[in-house]
């Protein structure tokens, strides 16, 4: 299991076709993995946005973060993880998720039922994160081969995403830098669990990895509802609603 996680995480797309296969079969199908990958993506996007608020950001840092976002989005669009993550983000918000993502989800939930025009979402996204392979991945999602609900959910997700990003930055701007730190400080403990899964290396021993996963599960699962697994049923429901509207 541990090795599968490590192998499943890939860095550059073209060279590692074989790793992708392993990842698809195992690690990436795991809801907690996608959840964490989504958290990482969210965190990276927040960082990028903060970079872009500066006139002259640290270019090296921004480029590295942007490349990370590219990797995640490539992987997500390739293994179709958008299916799991997107509706979940749009449909319901687990209470105990990391702060940054929590905010994103809250906004998305508020937006439930609304369908922002895709073009607006696109334009804004590109604007938010220049230099990203956002557009290609979006195109992949919208390609004729994609099923209808994929398009919808991604659109929903993206619309909610940009809106919530706006919200975040509004709050960030209104508050002092101290509160920004607070916002991120809360994230800390959960990311220690994230480390175990995302870096993959820790889990070289299966037991250690399992415990890391458990820790994450207990941290990430919303207390009132259930674990990620039972969410999948509700996901279908959420997707249905989305498609209907």
């Amino acid at each position: 299991m541990g090795t599968m996680f490590a192998r499943g995480l890939k860095r550059k797309s073209p060279e590692d076709g074989e790793d992708m296969e392993g990842g698809l079969a195992g690690a990436r199908a795991t809801p907690s993995y996608s959840l964490q990958r989504q958290s990482l993506l969210d965190m990276s996007l927040v960082k990028l946005q903060l970079c872009h608020m500066l006139v002259e950001p640290n270019l090296c840092r921004s480029v590295l973060i942007a490349n990370t976002v590219r990797q995640i989005q490539e992987e997500m669009s390739q293994d179709g993880t958008w299916r799991v993550v997107a509706p979940q983000a749009a449909g319901r918000a687990p209470l105990d998720r990391l702060v940054s993502t929590d905010i994103l989800c809250r906004s998305a939930r508020e937006q439930e039922g609304e369908h922002p025009a895709p073009d607006v979402g696109d334009g804004h996204m590109a604007d938010l994160v220049p230099g990203l392979a956002v557009v290609p991945s979006a195109q992949a999602l919208r390609s004729p081969q994609s099923s209808l609900w994929e398009v919808d959910s991604s659109r929903e997700n993206r619309g909610g995403f940009q809106k919530s990003l706006d919200q975040i930055f509004e709050t960030l701007e209104n508050k002092t830098s101290g509160s920004v730190e607070e916002l991120f400080a809360d994230v800390d403990s959960s990311y220690y669990d994230l480390d175990a899964v995302l870096t993959g290396v820790v889990g070289s021993t299966p037991s250690a990895h399992a415990s890391g996963l458990q820790a994450f599960a207990s941290a990430a699962a919303p207390p009132p509802s259930s674990s990620c697994r039972s969410d999948l049923g509700e996901l279908d429901h959420a997707v249905e609603i989305l498609v209907e509207t």
Partner: protein, 544 residues
């Protein structure tokens, strides 16, 4: 990646605190700004000036890192092995003086003591941002975030004070860069000194290059102990007299005066960089140097400030396609035509300026294939190279990335000949380190004089040394709290999983705000300078 904590005899640090820094800053105040009128830098009047005390009366450039009042015993602990490291002095960035305002009626020593014990009183501007020995090792320059350059000079050796062989005292301090505002872009340009490079000494004066994000300056640092007296064309205040009143011609004479060290800006190389300068490097022809920013490298002649040659440009036509930046660059120590630069993708390119004017094609490309078992989303970030240094011999290149330091043979491009783990225990914490941005810290690395040992920094005020011959390594700590005067400072160990032994530090208790990014090694002797936030520690090999 075996973590070897064999206590290398060679590196046992015997810590000897030769001074308590609380008195240093006061003394320094006196000879801190002796040269201000020459280039318009006025020291701010400090309430300290009115403090009368034994410590403010020191004249001249006295040793500021040895206490006048508390002579420390100087015998070493016995039993330490050959080549032990001892703390020679800890030098504080001097601006703390300004914090001692409005306390005139309190004993200055007490104030100083309490202030200096509390690291949190150091301001952002005091943080040391670069450290560099000159080519003889006689001088040591530091730059800080406040735009100042402080030059330390090695204490002259004397027979009755053999122990003070490696001590460095403040020689000169000057404001190299000031904060600026770019009105076109509406952005502030920080005064922080990113790099300092010495020029080889050619006469009595010393020359150095200092750079912030945008502008490189050439400084001349020279001594003056005589001044002309007896002009009668001007009055005492320097105003020209009415020629009609001058009836005789007097020849001025040179009279001795107190030694004064002047720093004067001789050249300002500006307006050539759109991005942030990360490296400067003096060519071995001593006539040119290069400055590298995130996307371009420029070649300058020391005599020409209004133009430079662009020798590397990796800026894509469309900035949205940008995926790689230049992180460091350096000239070959002997071959004036070749230089290397490193990138954020973990690669190093060696370029030959004879090949073409614009070196957009490298002559050598050093890259190590990625280890699939360590692959993660952070692979690229941690492989980004933060520093690149040629060995003194010119045969090897050393690169530092986030977790390792690597030595490359110029003749082998496909993998490094040596890889040393600096803090591999952080591999499992990468997500947190990404979240708190530590993963983007730019650690530097240095060679010793004979290219046999390499040194680089880590967190928690730790720094690491690797002996390339014996393959031994050691973790040392540059910290005031853990250094009893004269005590042997043990090598530090970080506990990696499992049970934590008594003297080990667990990974979770490491302080990531205390990082050693900048170190320097004396060009010929075993004396090292380690910058820990606002402190500069100087250690030396005990036996020498």
């Amino acid at each position: 990646m075996e973590q070897s904590y064999v206590v290398a005899e060679k590196f046992w640090p015997l810590l000897r605190v030769l001074f308590l820094a609380q008195e240093a800053s006061i003394k320094l105040r006196k000879h801190f700004f002796p040269f201000s009128p020459l280039w318009g830098f006025e020291p701010q009047a400090s309430p300290l000036d009115s403090i009368k005390g034994p410590h403010t009366s020191t004249q001249g450039l006295g040793p500021w890192c040895s206490p006048t009042g508390s002579p420390a015993p100087l015998s070493c602990e016995t039993g330490c092995g050959e080549g032990s490291w001892i703390l020679v002095c800890r030098l504080l960035v001097p601006t703390q003086v300004s914090l001692l305002s409005m306390e005139e009626d309190i004993d200055t020593r007490k104030i100083n003591n309490s202030f200096l014990r509390d690291h949190s009183y150091a301001t952002e501007a005091d943080i040391i941002s670069t450290v560099e020995f000159n080519h003889t090792g006689e001088l040591l320059a530091t730059g800080d975030k406040g735009g100042r350059v402080v030059i330390f000079q090695r204490e002259q050796e004397s027979k009755n004070q053999v122990h003070r062989r490696g001590e460095y005292n403040v020689y000169s301090t000057f404001q190299s860069h000031e904060p600026e505002f770019d009105y076109l872009k509406s952005l502030e340009i920080e005064e922080k000194i990113n790099k300092i490079r010495w020029l080889p000494q050619q006469n009595a004066a010393y020359f150095l290059l200092s750079t912030n994000d945008k502008t490189v300056k050439l400084w001349k640092v020279s001594e003056r102990d005589k001044r002309p007296e007896g002009y009668n064309l001007k009055d005492e205040e320097g105003r020209l007299r009415d020629p009609a009143t001058i009836t005789t011609l007097r020849v001025p004479v040179l009279r001795p005066m107190d030694l004064m060290v002047e720093a004067t800006p001789r050249r300002v190389f500006a307006n050539a960089h759109t991005y942030h300068i990360n490296s400067i490097s003096v060519n071995s022809d001593y006539e040119t140097y290069m400055s590298a920013d995130d996307l371009r490298i420029n070649l300058w002649n020391f005599e020409i400030t209004n133009q430079s040659f662009n020798i590397v440009d990796i800026k894509p036509a469309n900035m949205e396609e940008l995926t790689e930046v230049i992180t460091a660059a350096e000239f070959h120590p002997h071959h004036c035509n070749s230089f290397v630069y490193s990138s954020s993708k973990g690669t190093i390119r060696l370029c030959d300026m004879r090949a073409s004017a614009l070196c957009d094609r490298h002559s050598k490309f050093f890259e190590e294939p990625e280890d699939p078992s360590n692959r993660s989303f952070f692979s690229e970030i941690i492989s980004s190279i933060s520093d690149v240094k040629f060995s003194h011999s010119g045969r090897y290149i050393m690169t530092r990335d986030y977790l390792t330091v690597k030595v490359w043979d110029l003749n082998m491009e496909n993998r490094p000949i040596e890889t040393y783990q600096v803090h591999d225990y952080l591999r499992s914490k990468l997500c947190s380190l990404y979240e708190n941005d530590c993963i983007f810290d730019k650690f530097e690395c240095v060679w010793n004089g004979s290219d046999s040992v390499i040194m680089t920094g880590s967190y928690n005020n730790f720094f690491r040394m690797f002996d390339r011959n014996t393959k031994r390594d050691v973790t040392l700590e540059a910290s005031r709290e853990n250094s009893k005067p004269r005590a042997i400072l043990k090598p530090r160990k970080v506990c990696v999983g499992g049970k934590r032994r008594k003297d080990e530090i667990s990974v979770d208790s490491l302080d990531f705000s205390k990082k050693i990014l900048h170190t320097a090694w004396h060009p010929s002797e075993n004396i090292i300078a380690v910058a820990a936030t606002n402190n500069l520690y100087i250690f030396q090999d005990k036996v020498n």
